[in-house]
Symmetry: C2
Subunit: 319 residues, 2 copies
């Protein structure tokens, strides 16, 4: 989803980090939907980064900028231990090693989408930029390891890495996925489309959000910042909106009325609760802010982005 939206933006802009784009390669384990770009070639390839040799082939054109978004999501990495480590750890390491193996001064900007799942409780009121990574899921562990590798490979001069810890992306378009966070989007998206949504956790749960549009903005910004400005600290927690489920529901009500809110069915799920209750609710993201990363200012704005980008700017009256 994020990859597709990133390519759409790049196709629109025709440039990244102040340079014209000449060529883009989209690699995924399933065939990516191609996006026509006026000003550059787009090549779509089906590839599994966790297979030895695949990363080397993907680097054939020696790209200046690499966005590494590939991941087995949190819920799935928890259910299938081997699959998560293979994709999220081995796949990332093979990519880093393939970049290093090119040599001859090749040192691309590598943007890695990490996650706030690298953090674990106990939390302070607002989690600061230097807070330690003590993940409580296999997914968060894999992301934290990838951050360490990216930092070390960057320090050694093998590449120029930036890891951005994404908030939970909300409102995600499309269908619910296996991420334990999926309901945060469903309870907005489904009602806005006249469908029922299931809410498995209490209204008091607080979490950290940014829209898909903001996330694409983070990716583009991460491509253009000066690596020296990072002073060796290559992992950045991204800005976001701190909101409870109740805040989400109020924003939905303001956007679409109480009829929409009535489509949310409360169905407590202990397994989801156990995962979600360990998640962080609020960050202080001074470093990212100083580096020019920007998210929405409220959950109303987040709902507004979904309505603009996915519903053509208007909510259908379905009642």
């Amino acid at each position: 989803m994020l990859g597709r939206k990133l390519v759409e933006r790049l196709a629109r802009d025709g440039a990244l980090a102040g340079e014209g784009i000449s060529h883009a390669v989209l690699a995924d384990v399933i065939e990516a939907r191609s996006t026509a770009a006026r000003s550059f070639d787009v090549q779509v390839t089906v590839a599994d980064l966790a297979e030895r040799g695949v990363a080397r082939e993907l680097l054939d054109g020696l790209p200046d900028v690499i966005f590494h978004l590939a991941a087995v999501v949190s819920g799935e990495a928890e259910v299938d231990f081997d699959k998560g480590y293979r994709a999220n750890l081995d796949g990332t390491r093979l990519l880093l090693d393939a970049i290093r193996a090119v040599g001859s001064g090749y040192r691309p900007r590598l943007i890695f989408t990490s996650s706030i799942a690298v953090f674990g409780p106990p939390y302070p009121e607002a989690i600061a930029d230097d807070h330690g990574t003590t993940p409580l899921t296999s997914y968060g562990t894999q992301k934290a390891i990838a951050e360490l590798l990216l930092s070390d490979y960057t320090r050694r001069g093998f590449l120029d890495g930036v890891a951005i810890r994404l908030p939970t992306i909300c409102v995600r378009p499309g269908e619910p996925n296996l991420a334990a966070s999926s309901f945060f989007s469903s309870i907005i998206r489904e009602p806005l489309n006249g469908r029922e949504a299931v809410l498995p956790v209490p209204d008091s749960i607080r979490h950290w959000f940014a829209s898909p549009r903001a996330a694409v903005g983070f990716l583009c910004r991460a491509a253009e910042i000066d690596g020296n400005a990072l002073q060796g600290r290559r992992c950045l927690t991204m800005p976001g909106v701190s909101a409870t489920v109740a805040d989400e529901i109020e924003a939905l009500s303001r956007a679409a009325g109480e009829d929409a809110v009535r489509l949310i069915r409360r169905e407590p799920d202990e397994r989801t609760m156990q995962i979600v209750r360990t998640w962080p609710g609020r960050f202080s993201t001074k470093r990212a802010h100083a580096l020019g990363f920007r998210a929405e200012a409220s959950f109303d704005e987040i709902v507004g982005v979904y309505v603009e980008d996915e519903l053509g700017g208007r909510i259908e009256a379905w009642t």
Copy 2:
């Protein structure tokens, strides 16, 4: 060195964590010196954990307690990137996976020697137990990754891991090694044996120390603590003595006089300085203390342990 001293203590005690020892397997890439134990068998084996299948063989006897001390040291891991990752990351992961593969409820206590090299500047006055891991060496990166893996494998129920972050062990017996920290021991050990030592850094450098005897005590304590008391936080910074090079030299003077101090030759080395200046100087190790881990109370005590354990309790008059 630490492995040998640990086995000597186990041979002396005949027990660990309140249980009699029936059998010990010592595995190393070079042949370990065997230690006669009155009350249990000691089997010495040459094995490279980073080779696939080796860990499984080492687990044949389904040990209740595993001490994983194997490591390529800091200086060497910085010079030989591949060797460090192979031994410190791949070797550890293969061991964890081999334990997991046994299955059938096998869940041994795994004690992993991590290092304060997992930390990087900027530091507070005293580094607290929840300080984040932002290593500035490949060695520290590999240790931090191993900690994350150990924590996740423990959380998933595959093993019962405890990672102890060792202070710099001082005074190390024997010859200088490739660790960048080697001089901290040399400037005490060599003069106490009537030999010259080279000091590559200024007297003002502060660092965190414990004796080999204290380190063996940490290992034994880590084998006996109740895993539940760790509340999911499986990585513990070990207590130690915060001392400057000047403090070390004063302790040497008190133990052996100014003639010994005159054997220290100041020979500034920029490469060593660059590594050492990023090292931490002081910790607040409340968790470890509450869990019963104990180090020396002063650098004089650390010198005293060397004299007792390595010099038979007395310093030869060599002048």
